[in-house]
Symmetry: C2
Subunit: 281 residues, 2 copies
């Protein structure tokens, strides 16, 4: 079940001249709703702000965005204790052509969805992944932000149908690990945690940022760097992050298997104490 | 003025759950209508077929696509003597998530537009271009086809507002010339014509293909190869191709200027004799 709103009005369609349809000209955020509040809201706003700046799209009033989510949850009778909101900002309606008219009014779409928690087993024992054949292209102008152009993720996600596979990992053309189709990846070598630098490609997830912030506040070292596929395979532990599920251990990728290790457990406990309750044991 | 149709019905919006909006999950063609017919129709279909194959989208019945354009022109009272049609094939409506449900029904959107011929002066004296700062990413999985994810072109096109600039040229991260934001590029060195190979990035335009086919049928040599920016700058002649305007000489890019040369004139005459009448002198 889903419900969508625009300017406070329930909608089931968008105008055919919206640039999201024609060019993927826009951004989105997928936001966990917990206890009636958008979780990690300021991190979502930061990424949206950066995305609007890079694409040259006017950032809508931030309070209006927030209020729109709360109103949508209420109007759609979606239980705000545990839900999901999707916020889409499009460049707006315009005549045909790549050139954006001046003073284009961006369009805000707010969707609210019923959400299901992950099985506890996934947090305890970890999840299975594959390496996707689809690579992720280097494009610094779009790296890190979450645009509506997501065909690489679509192609990668459609490489598998096996429902035991939780996620697919994606590398760039040079074989550097970048991210999962819907998650970010962290690897642990000798107690030291690192995650791919995302200045050339990939989406810089809000949960990734929350983990970075939380570990740094805890005094722990954590490094953003280039991580080759072989580096990742040789890691002692690997975990995934995503705004909905928080931190999730990885127990398998293809033939390679891992146990859920102490560093991953420590990270999960830390973030559980810092707002991401489902990661607590 | 524009008119859009889906399944033979006039529409002004599309369903909010269409994957075109959320992920750019679809393809499009921009088709010149001349004398009541979609021009270079078989080349448009070839590219659409290739795009559907690569993305894993069901190709709609080709006669239905054709008939939809003709019916739209008639219904919208757009003069079919000289017009433009835009065909969008989306992956269709689906629940949230990158994974496509099985047996998804693709959605066909047909738009018809009044079109204006280019000024004769552009064909006679050539057009002015700039080199865009926005690069075009290498992604073999999407190279050549015309997906709905066109943010690189949007960013590049919005680098200039000067209406004297007709087009912006785009290079990849290695400085190889790839294409214009809405056109393909050909360069001439010592009477020899070449155009960038598009197996890593760029859109393989139908007019580019028509020029390749026409020149080869004429017995002329033409080469698809890597062309560096410096190669292009040092060319004796440069011209652009696009489904709407055909073949257009380039007279300037930044500081570099060209005269409209004999090879470009020959190509324009050849294609004018081969269905692209506006290129005739």
């Amino acid at each position: 079940m889903s419900h969508w709103y625009c300017d406070g009005v329930s909608i089931d369609s968008i105008p055919i001249d919206d640039r999201a349809i024609h060019y993927g000209d826009g951004l989105f955020e997928t936001i966990a709703i917990r206890d009636g509040e958008p979780r990690l809201w300021s991190l979502h706003l930061n990424r949206l702000r950066e995305g609007c700046h890079r694409l040259g799209i006017g950032l809508p009033d931030e309070e209006v965005l927030y209020d729109g989510i709360i109103a949508a949850l209420h109007d759609a009778s979606v239980d705000p204790f545990y839900a999901l909101a999707k916020l889409i900002i499009t460049a707006g309606s315009a005549p045909r052509g790549y050139a954006r008219p001046e003073r284009l009014r961006s369009r805000v779409l707010t969707g609210v969805f019923i959400a299901q928690p992950q099985p506890q087993e996934n947090y305890r024992s970890g999840v299975e992944t594959i390496r996707c054949r689809t690579t992720i292209a280097a494009q610094p102008a779009l790296a890190g932000i979450k645009t509506l152009g997501r065909l690489e993720q679509v192609l990668a996600r459609n490489e598998w149908q096996n429902s035991n596979v939780f996620e697919g990992l994606m590398c760039d053309a040079d074989g550097l690990l970048i991210c999962g189709t819907m998650s970010n990846v962290f690897v642990v070598h000798d107690q030291s945690i690192s995650t791919p630098v995302l200045d050339q490609s990939g989406v810089a997830g809000v949960m990734r940022q929350h983990v970075l912030n939380t570990l740094r506040a805890d005094g722990g070292g954590i490094i953003e760097k280039n991580i080759s596929w072989d580096d990742a395979r040789s890691a002692d532990e690997v975990f995934l992050t995503n705004s909905q599920f928080g931190v999730m251990p990885m127990r398998q990728c293809g033939e390679r298997q891992w146990h859920v290790g102490p560093v991953t457990g420590h990270v999960m406990n830390l973030v559980a104490q810092n707002g991401i309750e489902e990661c607590g044991s």
